[in-house]
């Protein structure tokens, strides 16, 4: 089976679509199991977001006495911090997954997969789907912990699903972009090196502190940062009545980013195949 991923006709034909799905499913399962077997690698994606959320809610709870905050943003700082922690956890997890991919490429395992009769698209999509599955598990665990700690989902059960979906789509977007970077560079160092950049973007958004209280150029950057709007959509699920804008922000933006990311990743894969 020699499906070229650049060939849309082949992609569209029903038999290859079926095998693509099957292969994707198999590779997804393999990838998820692989991720869950390395708890030490996943641990930081759990520990740090929860630590920052705990720290934030203990440090900034006074903010809850600010009238603007209580009226427009959140009922408590803990309730505010939940979305930031979810965002952070998903971004951490997706980056480390891309690091695995880069390691596979570096060690030649990826080449072996490419040599097998498995669809090349499935190899990439399998990884991305696995990231989404891990993200769903992660969001559910985070939510359970936060609910026990006293957080409330103001938008109800649909909001809960909204949060999970947002997390999964964000994982897809981030994993796709990072996978593109991993395939393009083939070096775990480059992927690791991109990580501080993700951290910077997170700080320059409303993930840790409301945009409303930022000033000057910092505020301008945060206004333009897509992460601000994604996380605010999720904060909406936590703190307000259900609304369409929450889905638009936390689902649609990651969805668009995911499409760009997947296009980038597949293009990088094609280039790598053409080069070898």
């Amino acid at each position: 089976m020699s499906v070229s991923i650049a060939d849309p006709k082949m992609m569209a034909s029903s038999s290859s679509t079926r095998s693509l799905l099957r292969h994707t499913f198999v590779l997804t399962r393999r990838s998820v199991i692989g991720r869950l077997r390395q708890p030490a690698v996943l641990a930081p994606a759990f520990i740090f977001p929860l630590f920052f959320a705990a720290l934030g809610s203990a440090s900034f709870n006074r903010l809850a006495s600010d009238p603007y905050f209580t009226a427009n943003i959140a009922t408590s700082f803990l309730n505010y911090a939940v979305a930031g922690a979810v965002l952070q956890g998903v971004l951490f997890g997706s980056t480390s997954a891309a690091g695995d991919l880069a390691t596979d490429i570096e060690q030649g395992f990826f080449e072996r997969l490419l040599a097998s009769p498995i669809s090349r698209t499935a190899i990439v999509l399998g990884r991305l789907a696995a990231s989404m599955v891990v993200a769903v598990v992660q969001v559910v665990i985070f939510m359970a912990i936060f609910l026990v700690a006293g957080a409330r989902i103001e938008s109800g059960p649909i909001g809960f699903i909204g949060l999970i979906g947002g997390g999964a789509l964000l994982a897809l977007a981030m994993s796709a972009m990072m996978a593109g970077l991993a395939i393009k560079s083939g070096s775990p160092e480059v992927v690791q090196g991109a990580f501080p950049l993700v951290f910077v973007l997170m700080f320059l958004s409303s993930a840790f502190f409301p945009r409303h209280y930022m000033k000057g150029w910092y505020r301008t950057v945060a206004d333009w940062n897509p992460l601000s709007h994604i996380v605010e959509g999720m904060q909406g699920f936590m703190n307000h009545e259900l609304s369409a804008s929450q889905f638009a922000k936390s689902w649609l933006i990651p969805f668009v980013l995911a499409n760009i990311g997947i296009a980038f990743a597949l293009r990088a894969l094609n280039n790598r195949l053409a080069a070898s």
Partner: protein, 266 residues
């Protein structure tokens, strides 16, 4: 070749410790100059954090009456930069252990404390640049120093002390573990010690568990010492707690490093 016989040889009468410290510090600086890529993160990170903290959490501290968020975060990030810079000493030592260069130093007739002291001294020299960098960015950002020159002196003392403590802790762990895990563990230790103190907001703004932890965390005292000149006058009352905390930590980490090298020597 000169004619040499066993009896006429001038056997070395042992090294002069301070010359050894000086040349080992010089070597550490030289490595920084010749391999700047390893040093740059310890310069960029504290400045980024300064901008991020004051940009993101600015309101949280200015709403408590602090004039400029930088007044609160410059001392913190100077100390953080100094401590991360000190980690370079641990990385350097691990590198020396792996290449065998450390054996060369151990085989020389110099006392063991010289090895520890020169690493700590190197940490001090290394931290000067990040501290200066953070303070300059603070000035550009318009931070206030009502304590005048003493404000800067206090930040410098606290940062250097933290750099030495971090380096001593890293050395002690490195001698015991002999791998990069030591540097990672030190990083975690610094991270949690700093964040579980008054790093982000004053004690009065904290609630619950964090307040309890921050209150007994020696870092809180050291931060109070470092910040006083940025928030008001430098006074003995705000200083003594920090001075004691620094002294105790310095002694403990020096002992930890010395017992570490003794263990390594077995």
């Amino acid at each position: 070749m000169t004619e040499q016989t066993v009896n006429t040889r001038t056997i070395s009468d042992g090294a002069r410790p301070f010359e050894v410290v000086a040349i080992l510090v010089k070597r550490s600086m030289m490595r920084v100059r010749r391999m700047p890529s390893a040093f740059i993160p310890s310069l960029v990170m504290p400045v980024f954090q300064l901008i991020a903290f004051s940009g993101a959490f600015g309101f949280a501290v200015t709403s408590l009456g602090i004039k400029n968020a930088l007044d609160w975060y410059v001392p913190l990030n100077a100390m953080q930069g100094a401590s991360f810079g000190a980690l370079g000493v641990s990385f350097g030592l691990i590198n020396d252990m792996q290449t065998g260069f450390f054996d060369r130093i151990l085989m020389a007739p110099t006392p063991r404390w010289v090895t520890v002291v020169s690493s700590l001294a190197a940490a001090v020299v290394r931290c000067v640049v990040p501290i200066t960098f953070v303070v300059i960015v603070g000035y550009i950002g318009g931070m206030n120093t009502p304590g005048g020159f003493m404000a800067i002196v206090c930040v410098a003392i606290a940062s250097i002390a933290i750099a030495v403590v971090a380096a001593g802790f890293a050395l002690g762990l490195t001698f015991r573990m002999r791998n990069l895990g030591a540097a990672t563990l030190t990083q975690f230790a610094i991270f949690f010690t700093i964040f579980l103190s008054t790093s982000q907001v004053p004690l009065s703004a904290m609630s619950g568990w964090l307040r309890g932890v921050a209150r007994i965390n020696p870092m809180t005292n050291i931060l109070r010492f470092a910040r006083q000149g940025f928030l008001g006058d430098v006074t003995w009352e705000q200083s003594w707690g920090g001075i004691i905390a620094m002294a105790v930590l310095l002694i403990l980490t020096f002992i930890f490093a010395m017992t570490g090298i003794k263990k390594f020597d077995q």
